[in-house]
Structures are given as structure tokens and as C-alpha cells.
Amino acid sequence: MNVEPTVRVEDKLYYNRYLVDVGRPHVTVRAHTTPSPQLLALLNACPARCYELNDNGQVEVTVDGCIECGTCRVIAEPTGDIKWSYPRGGYGVLFKFG
């Protein structure tokens, strides 16, 4: 079973507070023609669904909704598929409850 159609992550992220560091994404995907298995795994494993396939079948990341869990780092940084950092101090997700 894959992504359940009933679950909309976007709605969940809407509850959260973010301070987006415009133009300075803290996660980037290495340019590729065909995605590696690690990159493909991120499509489902990222809890904020930051990773998506573009029309050419490549994996793209949009970090605005990132909750900074580090899952994608653990899976895809060792293969060099992504570059991962923390956002600049003060930026990114801001939990009220945590």
C-alpha cells in the first residue's frame, strides 16, 4: 500500500509555525537523470512530503514544510544524493508544543 489518498500532509503542515529562509534551502538534491533507490525512498519516508517527482521523473525537494527530522539525511546523505544542513539560526520550523 502506498500513499493513502485520504491523508493530506499539506493540511497537517498548516498547523505548524515556520520562518522560511527564502532563497536559502537547507536541503538540496544532487542533479540526476534517473533517481537512485535512496532518493525514491524519500518520496514516501519524508513526514512532510517535501520530496516529489517532477514531470521528467526526477526527485525534487521543496523545504518550506520541512520539520527538520533528519530522516532524509539518514537515508540519502551517505550516497551523496542530497546535501543536508540545519537552517540558519532562528529559521525553519518553530514548535509551540513539540
Binding site: 500513499v3 491523508v7 525512498a41 514516501n44 513526514p47 527530522c69 539518514v74 540545519y86 509551540k96
Partner: protein, 435 residues
């Protein structure tokens, strides 16, 4: 940026970092603590159960001051299949004591308070500051940090790495390896708000009494994982976590699993009508004893989740973080009081003291558990919950079948699913790992 020199720099203002900074500041050391969040706690996620004993050692009067939710009088364990749960409840009025043993807390709020104690003790706390790099001297010793504030570095005799499970600094500097997919779990969590009276009625509570539920079974769909439901004053923390390696392997989605958990007939009535106000995710170290990295070196120590000091079997982490932070700080203060340098040899005192504490003793006890749960996750998280649930349904349903036949059927279903040798092997493996 900062010209002055510090006795110690603490990276991170979570449970471990706050414990370390507080302990050193109280001993008169000059401490700088750096935190990347807007305020301490703004990046942190927990269930969250607070263990009073370890907190008391740091701030004896915390019960009067800290933002606490409910003190726990009841713990439930649920083994779930898709439609039912088999439960064990332990409730005791003994927990309605003057100095309660465990509380639920809300981490973002608790960390803010904890940090105020660190400031009161005299440490300098700088938020909105991400440490980007550790600074070494020409002999490869750690002598300070670099941050994203403005260029320039800050120097100290020792750096305490309390950067949490995903700590970048230590791994980038090659002090330890990056967490591996089968050593960390990804947990997703929501905060469900309901009127206080509703929570108390649904969980059978009065006043500030609290309940926590830990759940395992088919909710993790054969992956190594657990769900939790914790009652706070006016909200319920609800979440589920599974090994990252399992997410990678199965292509399940974390939010899909969370929503499935919420829709379970045993869970849905508890949160019916609630307003969700936050969705969070965080990693949990699950590798146990065997995943503990080198804990100290020339000019540095590592504490808390960054050192994988987390007891996944008992769901304890913050208390191990607090304790390791405190012990590291005590060791550092001892070295300093002897006017000796912060070399690896001198800082090995930290490990020696930690080895003698419950932190390492507990982790050692369960050293084989993570591997067992992972290798046999299908049995422990799918097959057995289903079998046990079926067995109990068979036991309690009255339908004219003689009891002897019922028992035979139950036994047969176990043997059919796992075979006699399989059952025996599972039992042996479990007992051996638990011992």
C-alpha cells in the same frame, strides 16, 4: 563575534545540554550555551514523560516551578490487531504521592523553563545560533566552535556536544558516524486539544492525574515500531514511530501510519472531536548499547541522544540525556578543579562515571533487544498480536463450543503460524535478550 574565552561551550539547549550547562554554571564555571532554535525547545519533540528523580537532581524545587501537565497514576500497554486491542493496565493510588514519580510535559514549554534556570545559574545562553563547525588546533584538539552568526570563532577549554540524535557537528568532524537507518526510528506526532473535563472523563481521571498508553501490534504493519497516547491537561499527545530502515524498505508513509492509528476503533473515541494544533516529527536513537559511539576526546564530550543514550524498550530518553549531561559536567568540573587540561585521558572520567550509572547499566541489559526486534519484526509486530487477539476473542466469546476445543484451536493457530520450533525459538530469543 565573542572575544572572551569560556571554560566550556555547550551545543544545544535540550535536556542534555541544559543539564550540562546548569551543572557547570552552578559550579562557577564560565559557560556559553548555543541553541539554533528561536527559543530553547522550539526545535524539540518528545512524547513526553518526564522522570522526576533525574530532574530533581538538577532542580530540586522543579515541582513548584516547572510547567508540568499531569502526574501519572496509570500506565497501559496495548497489543493491537486491526480491530481490537489486548491490554494490560497498571493503576495505583500510590502514585498520588506528594512527590510524584512521573509527569507528562510539553517539551517546548518545559525546555523554555529549564533554560531559565540555566541563565539564573549564570551561563550565557545564545539562541538563534546554529553552530556550523568545530574548531581544531594544529594538534587536532577541539578548541572551540564556529557559528552562522558572523565569522570568527568562539574558544573554550572543552565543547559539550548536546546536539541531539541528528547531531551534524560530531559526525562532520569525524568524532562519530552518522546514525544508520536501522539505528534510528522516525516518530510522527500530533497534539489533539480537548476540554479538560472531556479528557478526564475519557481517561478516567480526576484533578491532575494522568495516564499514558503505549501500543504495539499491527498498527506498525509488520515494521519495528510503537504508538503512544499521553494525556496532558488540555490536550493529548498521540504519535507512532518505526525504524527508518523499515520506512525505507516498505515505502509506507509516516503520516499514513499515524492516520491509520488514529482511526483504530480503540483510539478514535479518545480523540473524537479534538482540534489538532501541531504536527511534528523527530528521530529517536534505537541502536542501544551497541550503537554508543566514542564518548569523549581531546577537548570534547558527547551527551544525550547525540551519543545514542536512549532506552527504546522503556521509552526513556530525556532522563538518560539529563543524567549524561550532568555527569559529563561533573567530570569536567572535577578536571578543572584539579587545574588539569581537558585532554582525552582526563575526560575519560566522564565515561567511567557514566558506566557506573543506571544509564549504561540499563542499556547494557538490553544490548541484544534492538537487533532481535528488528530481525523478527514480522513475528513480534504482526503475527503475535493477531494470534493473541484471536485467542482472546475465542476465549471470551460464548458460543456453545466446549472450552477444550477452543483451547485446542488456539494452540493450533499458534503452531500453524510459527511452528513448534519457531515458537520455542522466539521465546528463547526474547528471554535471552531481556535478561
Amino acid at each position: 563575534m565573542i572575544e572572551e574565552r569560556f571554560d566550556a561551550i555547550v551545543v544545544g539547549a535540550g535536556m542534555a545540554g541544559n543539564a550540562a550547562a546548569l551543572t557547570m554554571a552552578k559550579r562557577g564555571m564560565k559557560v556559553l550555551q548555543l541553541e539554533r532554535g528561536e527559543y530553547p525547545g522550539s526545535k524539540n519533540v518528545q512524547g513526553a514523560i518526564l522522570y522526576a528523580d533525574m530532574m530533581e537532581k538538577l532542580v530540586p524545587e522543579f515541582r513548584e516551578e516547572a510547567p508540568l501537565e499531569r502526574h501519572l497514576v496509570e500506565q497501559r500497554f496495548w497489543m493491537m490487531d486491526d480491530r481490537s486491542h489486548v491490554g494490560m493496565h497498571y493503576r495505583s493510588d500510590d502514585f498520588n504521592e506528594e512527590r510524584p514519580n512521573r509527569y507528562t510535559i510539553i517539551r517546548a514549554q518545559f525546555d523554555k523553563w529549564f533554560s531559565s534556570k540555566v541563565r539564573e545559574a549564570g551561563a550565557t545562553v545564545l539562541c538563534e545560533t546554529t553552530v556550523t563547525e568545530l574548531v581544531r588546533d594544529d594538534r587536532e584538539r577541539i578548541v572551540g566552535v564556529r557559528t552562522d552568526r558572523r565569522d570568527g570563532e568562539i574558544r573554550a577549554d572543552v565543547v559539550v556536544l548536546a546536539e541531539g540524535v541528528n547531531g551534524l557537528l560530531g559526525t562532520r568532524a569525524g568524532l562519530r558516524s552518522r546514525p544508520k537507518p536501522d539505528n534510528v526510528a522516525l516518530a510522527v506526532k500530533e497534539m489533539h486539544f480537548l476540554p479538560r473535563e472531556t479528557i478526564e472523563a475519557r481517561f478516567n481521571l480526576k484533578g491532575d492525574e494522568g495516564v499514558v498508553i503505549e501500543a504495539a501490534g499491527t498498527i506498525s504493519r509488520g515494521m519495528t515500531g510503537m504508538g503512544f497516547i499521553y494525556a496532558n491537561k488540555e490536550c493529548i499527545s498521540l504519535g507512532i514511530g518505526c525504524l527508518v530502515a523499515d520506512f525505507q524498505r516498505t515505502a509506507q508513509t509516516p503520516y499514513g501510519m499515524l492516520d491509520h492509528f488514529k482511526q483504530h476503533p480503540s483510539v478514535a473515541p479518545l480523540i473524537a472531536g479534538s482540534e489538532v494544533k501541531e504536527y511534528a516529527a523527530h528521530l529517536i536513537p534505537e541502536g542501544g548499547y551497541k550503537a554508543i559511539p566514542q564518548l569523549y576526546g581531546e577537548g570534547w564530550v558527547v551527551v544525550g541522544d547525540a551519543a545514542q543514550l536512549n532506552n527504546a524498550i522503556h521509552r526513556e530518553g530525556s532522563n538518560l540525556a539529563m543524567t549524561s549531561g550532568r555527569i559529563a559536567a561533573e567530570a569536567i568540573a572535577k578536571v578543572k578543579s584539579r587545574r588539569e587540561p581537558m585532554t582525552a585521558t582526563n575526560l575519560s572520567l566522564y565515561k567511567k562515571m557514566l558506566d557506573e550509572s543506571f544509564v549504561i547499566k540499563d542499556l547494557k541489559k538490553y544490548k541484544d533487544m534492538p537487533m532481535l526486534m528488528h530481525t523478527y519484526s514480522q513475528n513480534f509486530f504482526l503475527t503475535y498480536p493477531q494470534l493473541i487477539s484471536k485467542a482472546l476473542q475465542n476465549f471470551v466469546r460464548v458460543d456453545g463450543t466446549p472450552k477444550v476445543e477452543k483451547e485446542k484451536a488456539t494452540l493450533k493457530s499458534f503452531v500453524k503460524a510459527r511452528s513448534w520450533t519457531g515458537l520455542f525459538a522466539d521465546a528463547c530469543r526474547f528471554t535471552r535478550a531481556w535478561r
